[in-house]
Symmetry: C2
Subunit: 361 residues, 2 copies
Amino acid sequence: MGDKAGTKKRIEELGKMLLKEIKAGNNPFMDIPIRALSNVAFNPKSRIIEMGDAKSKRYFFNIAHIRKFVQTVTAAAIARELLAVDKHLSLRQVFYRMRRTIPGTNIDMVDEQTESNEAVEDMELLSDSSRELLHINANKNGSAAGKIIIKDKGDLIDWSKLGSGGWAIPSNTEDIEFKKVDAKFVIYMEKAAMWERLHEDKVWDKLDCIIIASQGQATRGIRRLLQRMNTELKLPVYILTDFDPWGWYIYSVLKFGSIALAYESKRLAIPNAKFLGLTAEDIKKYGLERQKIKFTERDASRLKQMVDYDWFKDNKDWQKQFKMMQQYGGKIELDALVTKGISFVSEKYLPEKIKNKDWID
Amino acid sequence: MGDKAGTKKRIEELGKMLLKEIKAGNNPFMDIPIRALSNVAFNPKSRIIEMGDAKSKRYFFNIAHIRKFVQTVTAAAIARELLAVDKHLSLRQVFYRMRRTIPGTNIDMVDEQTESNEAVEDMELLSDSSRELLHINANKNGSAAGKIIIKDKGDLIDWSKLGSGGWAIPSNTEDIEFKKVDAKFVIYMEKAAMWERLHEDKVWDKLDCIIIASQGQATRGIRRLLQRMNTELKLPVYILTDFDPWGWYIYSVLKFGSIALAYESKRLAIPNAKFLGLTAEDIKKYGLERQKIKFTERDASRLKQMVDYDWFKDNKDWQKQFKMMQQYGGKIELDALVTKGISFVSEKYLPEKIKNKDWID
């Protein structure tokens, strides 16, 4: 989707195109790709959730379009400013940067953050650049450790020498350079407490890998980082979650992308990521039957939705898991492995799973 | 509250004391400090929220006590095991470690995590040690950067050379050693996005300081770290939050402690922390009037509660702020400072506030 120079160029091209229309006395317009469900689908070839080609025209001289038109142009101006001064803002900060009274009127450019968010999303599509390339940051969360040395903002950072805390993953991981890689794979987990358990046991040292966690759903910064490690470094990415429809959905988003961010799947999804978390077979194998957390109605209906997703529909391995979970009627947390030993997860579960290639695709 | 050796000794003393009672044919008991509101109060001298001296006896041969008695002893055994093998577990993991069927019965040691949590809290009091000293970790969250070099788990970590991400703060900050300190103060902020804004502007380099953020309420690890920097390094701690009753409560907890964790105030509270966030005066001074977010009913009632807190009751500066906020009927976010310029917060707001000692105590 292009580098920084490309992003800047495409923003400027948009401006020039609009200027040309204005000078020619035409009604300036933008071709906005449609971000609705009707224009989103799972692509079985690329194995990611993608956006279609449908677009709609947004005109300046159109009472129904003008507000959004001006907001989108303002988002372009803010991105251009940020690129020029080489600084970043969060989505919330962009909202404030955009929020001003239009001179000579009582009208504010934006009233709610949803408006500036949508303008930013439109700009991502119009400039064929992620919001990170537009210097607009999402949430920051997560920790990393392992056998890799990166370069970021001029600093060389050795992820194997960062004490008990690890490296704090930034919201924007576009500019990280991979300098020296001794890791053979990456494990992403949904819980920081599990990360601390594995980190204390130096799993990344024993298994030659990298461990990354956030809390719950992975941030965009982490998703992009995992994808870059997968494509640029050719490292397998393993996803470690509970035996739980919500944990499995975290895997689903990491691997296939999501409907809400379908227009970013190409930059965020990891179609060859593998599931290394708890399976129905693991419950028996590791004697975890008694650690069941009974399904709530919400859990059960979440699982039911998963069964029907296009990207799981024809996947025999996953359909088998879904069925077994439905029969079991409950969830099991990875944390339950400590019933078998404080370091059971790092000394037995993970080495065994990886050695036996006991993952789900 | 004591070091690791002291913690181990006090756990063993508890065991010996119980054994002595058993051998003597007595009914073994423990003196448990009472963690109820009735035994918690603000101490105007120490300026923290503290626990009183009230205790209750918990007996083994007492049908109403036996379950909790056994759970507390099990928590002691788990802490002793963790100390012996020098490993840590999260509260959730302790729950699973404690959850087993008592031999010869159908009874599980614990059914819900609230039970194991309470057993851990009782052990914290009985052993006069924090849960971190018992090797039981709370949540992990947050990032740090600035002019300090620390040592942790054998690694020397320079917080000024960690790229855009910074150091990921661990859940447990007990064992961090401060090696070289060139910072003159610490700024804690409630939002990671503000941390990224300040970090990108290298505020810590320009103002010779350390910047730390989590997301919302500070973790125990961060609170303890801030307190240690304040007491051991004599660094002033400044709290940066929105003009918002919820942000102010974050300041309140950091400074005075909380009722729920009153038994930990001595190890977590920072009575001389200063408020460096937005005040009623700042709204005018920086022209932020139009950035108002109107109060919801919840906001208004939260503010009303603050007015009556013992630790704010006689504080004229804060009572003035509360009154002005009530009159204004709204909140203002720090992020709104970007309306004045992308780097206004780092180039103008913070340097000015600190130079003029424009904080609230």
